[in-house]
């Protein structure tokens, strides 16, 4: 399914990451998944939170640059090859994955995987047809 992801600009300064996660915590939001991409100059923190609107407002109020993106979330069997299988399905169908990260959900035997793709709806139909749960 399509879920909301918060992308946050992280200035390359010590303590910035701690500061950002503290702002979200103080807003009473809970982190469900996260991933960070780092470069020489800056980082981009990607978060799945329980209340993205609350988190986004808190960040903005604290002078943090953030944006909300629609990303695809798919359940993948929590066994060796589970992730690779899903990615193969996507590449066989010409879907490019910009980035991805996974988290273990509290229920069931599946891992939850977040993927960023160009066409969310097309990706969802490809995965559904291949039998994946979203």
């Amino acid at each position: 399914m399509i879920i909301k992801q918060l992308s946050v600009f992280v200035e390359n300064k010590p303590g910035r990451l701690a500061e950002i996660t503290r702002i979200i915590a103080d807003a009473g939001c809970s982190l469900e998944a996260l991933s960070i991409a780092d470069t020489d100059n800056f980082g981009i923190l990607r978060l799945i939170v329980d209340d993205y609107e609350k988190a986004y407002s808190a960040l903005k109020a604290n002078n943090v640059v953030a944006s909300v993106k629609d990303v695809v979330s798919v359940k993948v069997p929590d066994v060796p090859g589970g992730f690779a299988g899903m990615l193969t399905t996507l590449s066989d169908n010409g879907v490019d994955v910009s980035y991805t990260y996974a988290f273990i959900s509290k229920s069931g035997n599946d891992a939850q995987v977040v993927i960023r793709v160009a066409d969310n709806n097309k990706t969802i139909s490809i995965l559904t047809e291949a039998g994946y749960k979203l």
């Binding site: 390359n12 981009i44 943090v64 953030a66 944006s67």
Partner: protein, 434 residues
């Protein structure tokens, strides 16, 4: 397009130099005998008026600085008794005392003629309705433009500054054809015209003469677009005379200096050495014809270069480039002269970049380093590293292309670069020069 004073404005170089030499010799003797400061300066460098025989000897003379005005406030630099001074003007004086300047009746004539040349070059004639929105008062802008407009016999409307609604109403009611004001105000008027739903085609404005502050070609294009007129530059400073020291012709490829009155030089701001045509350096003027306040080699602190080639318009008066910046602004990074304004111009080409930036200079391993901090904003933010990296790379590339040096670009959080009411401090130079 017409030329106000064909004889002078299209004179052969050797004729101009002859006029200059004659006037210079006379002026040097006058200041030595009448202005104590100049007697002191000349004696200090061991120069006597009789040592100056022509313009070729100009370089032997000492410089005059803004501080000379401050130290001789208010009338200490006048070469005429106050009873012969018919007009006083002064600059706003943001730091300390105002700079006071004076004019005799003949000086006022010179001023009128210089501005008349500028107005004529912009197509102005007695048929024009000249709308003057420069401030009238101690500031030289309003009354200077006024004198020139009257000289060409135009219909002068001395509106002065402020009351934008009225300015626009007068454009329509009085049929103003030429506008004189600062370029920022012109932009502002253009905006106001647009927001009132007035079509620029319904206004009779055909030309505008803008000066008193630096402005870019981009601003020129904006002003022309909004007001539907042709925009001309005019340059001057109160110490030298006021507006009219130099002016744009229809080619708008450099401002013609009224060098029968003001001899321009370009010098190296550190050594004082006179630089050849085409090289950038500090603009210096010598007032050879004014009576009340003739200045010897006044250092303007403006950076420009001179072009001696005859212009397409037919004028032989030397052209100066638009001032590129101020001496105090200029940074030298790895031997390259860089102005914050150049960096700003590049950053402005990125639509979503806020106009707040900070330039940090340092020295690492004996090599100058430059870091430009730029604020991140939601409009600029891309979710993917690749896109943000591409932005950083593009900023770096455009800067390198514009100023010739490679800078580190750092994206910082919004609202972290200090703002200021006045001129923002854009450069932090941590280099220690031993």
């Amino acid at each position: 397009m017409a030329i106000y004073n064909k004889e002078i404005e299209t004179a052969e170089r050797h004729e101009l130099e002859a006029i200059q030499s004659l006037a210079l010799v006379r002026m040097v003797r006058k200041v030595y005998e009448n202005v104590p400061l100049y007697k002191k300066k000349f004696d200090e460098v061991g120069v006597k008026p009789s040592d100056i025989k022509s313009v070729k000897d100009l370089h032997k003379l000492p410089f005059t600085y803004k501080s000379d005005f401050q130290e001789n406030y208010p009338y200490g630099l006048f070469a005429e008794p106050l009873s012969n001074v018919v007009r006083i003007h002064a600059t706003s004086g943001t730091t300390g005392r105002q700079t006071v300047v004076g004019y005799t009746k003949d000086d006022m004539e010179i001023w009128s003629e210089c501005v008349a040349r500028a107005l004529t070059a912009a197509g102005g004639t007695k048929e024009d309705v000249i709308h003057i929105s420069y401030g009238y008062g101690l500031f030289t802008g309003g009354l200077g433009a006024h004198a020139g407009a009257e000289k060409i016999g135009a219909t002068v409307v001395p509106v002065s500054t402020g009351n934008t609604d009225r300015q626009i109403r007068l454009f329509q009611d009085f049929g103003s054809t030429i506008l004189c004001c600062t370029p920022s105000y012109a932009l502002y008027l253009g905006d106001a015209v647009q927001s009132k739903g007035i079509k620029k085609e319904d206004l009779k404005l055909k030309a505008g003469i803008f000066g008193a502050e630096p402005w870019t070609e981009k601003m020129r294009a904006e002003i022309e677009k909004r007001l539907g007129l042709k925009a001309y530059d005019i340059y001057g400073l109160s110490e030298i005379m006021g507006p009219g020291v130099s002016f744009d012709c229809e080619c708008r490829c450099g401002l013609h200096v009224n060098e029968d009155h003001f001899i321009p030089e370009i010098i190296d701001p550190d050594t004082g050495e006179v630089l050849p045509y085409g090289e950038y350096g500090e603009l210096v003027f010598t007032c050879i014809s004014k009576q009340a306040l003739p200045l010897v080699r006044y250092r303007t602190k403006d950076i420009a270069c001179l072009n001696i080639e005859k212009c397409e318009c037919g004028r032989t008066l030397v052209r100066m480039s638009k001032p590129k910046g101020r001496v105090d602004d200029m940074m030298i990074i790895r031997g390259v002269n860089v102005f914050p304004s150049q960096i700003e111009a590049v950053l402005l080409t990125f639509e979503d970049l806020a106009p707040h930036y900070l330039i940090l200079l340092d020295r690492v391993n004996n090599l100058d380093t430059i870091e430009i901090q730029v604020e991140m904003s939601e409009n600029l933010f891309h979710d993917e590293v690749r896109q943000l990296e591409a932005l950083v790379k593009e900023i770096k590339r455009r800067i390198e292309s514009a100023v010739g040096i490679s800078a580190k670009i750092t994206l910082v959080n919004p609202n972290t670069i200090p703002r200021s009411e006045g001129k923002a401090k854009r450069v932090i130079d941590n280099r220690k020069f031993d």
